[in-house]
Symmetry: none
Subunit: 217 residues, 2 copies
DNA sequence: TTTTTTTGATACAAAAATGATACAATCTGG
DNA sequence: CCAGATTGTATCATTTTTGTATCAAAAAAA
């Protein structure tokens, strides 16, 4: 599991980020000031640092130098949305820049993009008895390789990326099939059933009545 | 419950907003002039400010600077629907702009959108022995997961958003069922009973004679 | 107290949602 | 073109939800 450092003095914002990144499958550590951030960077092995510019004790620019020396990618997160700061940050080597307020989806997208650029993205994951390699499209259930169709595979990824969240049929359809969800098609149900059967997940993917399905992980 | 500050000198308009936001489950505070608004912003913890530009004593633009310093999202509400003001407001950091006269549904939609963008909407909460995760639709009573139906779930959310407030059957029906409340249907009563039973809330949700129900929390 | 109104509790049937299976249409790779 | 896999519709069975009806209990009114 990839570790991400959140250097941000405002606790609610740090929490917001932590909660969402944790949900997305990252391990998060919070540093409320510059000293703690520097300390943590030295002693633990982070795959990414989210940096607030305005930090107590040691500011974000200095911290970025630390990070770059340790070859840790950096995304700036700050209320200072001016191009001036943006340019300065990127010039100094930041990998991306996220102005507050930000949408969570945007945060996640940028984090993923930077990690991919640095080849730090995990291309495999395991949930219970199921192992998945997203690159080779190989899925093993209890050690044995199982053949998933394209739709089933994408469905699995969707569930994996949204564990413990009730996914609406509408959302599932639009994500996996792409188009608009008519409303009375049973396609989603059918594919969920097939996926459940192949993965032996009869009790892990459960129906949320009148809503859709949820993966308990 | 989220608190919203309404900075608006015209009382009827302020009232209109207050009534509708209160009904939607927000706690509202009214400031009739700029000084009061600044005062309230400093001393209470608001999740959002609705700002009239033309305010006595301190105008809306200045107030926005206060708000931004406190990291409170801002929606401008003003009769000056000209793009000039709109642009100025948004440039200075307003999160949205609502020209008078406005439709109530539009007001609510924008408020919700901004709050969601700031992730001020809480996805989980706990009341006594009951834990609720609105994303996964999971409800735990004394630590054990309990299966609620959609209606029961929405009913619970409604009570949670309106703790210690006597909810009229009419209001409950319109919120959870959506249509018009006939008047002699026992549907609301039945569902409240079922909810009480499942949550062991026989003594927490109490009947208010001839009115409806109230959640004591 | 007695009466009336309102709410609580239970049973039950209609309606809706989901699971399961079969099968036709479509696609894919020889 | 063919064989097989994939995909989605149709159908029926099963489960769950939901609201009405009914009667009992409680609260207010007379």
């Amino acid at each position: 599991m990839l570790k991400i450092l959140i250097a941000e003095d405002e606790e609610p914002i740090a929490n917001l980020i932590r909660i969402n990144l944790t949900r997305a499958g990252y391990q998060c550590v919070w540093a409320p000031d510059g000293n703690k951030a520097a300390d943590l960077m030295m002693n633990e092995n982070f795959s990414l640092v989210l940096l607030d510019i305005m930090l107590p004790e040691i500011n974000g620019y200095e911290l970025m130098e630390y990070a770059k020396r340790l070859d840790i990618p950096v995304i700036f997160i700050t209320a200072l949305g001016s191009t001036e700061h943006k340019v300065k940050g990127l010039k100094m080597g930041a990998d991306d820049y996220l102005p507050k307020p930000f949408e969570i989806v945007e945060l996640l997208a940028r984090v993923e993009a930077v990690l991919r650029r640095y080849q730090k993205v995990e291309t495999t994951f395991t949930i219970d008895n199921v192992f998945v390699d997203t690159l080779s499209h190989v899925v093993r259930v209890d050690g044995e390789e199982v053949q998933l169709t394209v739709k089933e595979f994408e469905l699995l990824l969707l569930f994996a990326r949204n564990r413990n969240i009730a996914l609406y049929r509408e959302m599932i359809y639009e994500n996996v099939w792409g188009g608009e969800y008519g409303g009375q098609s049973r396609t989603v149900d059918l594919h969920v059933q097939r996926l459940k059967k192949k993965l032996h997940w009869e009790d892990k993917i459960i129906a949320v009545y009148k809503v859709g399905y949820r993966l308990n992980a």
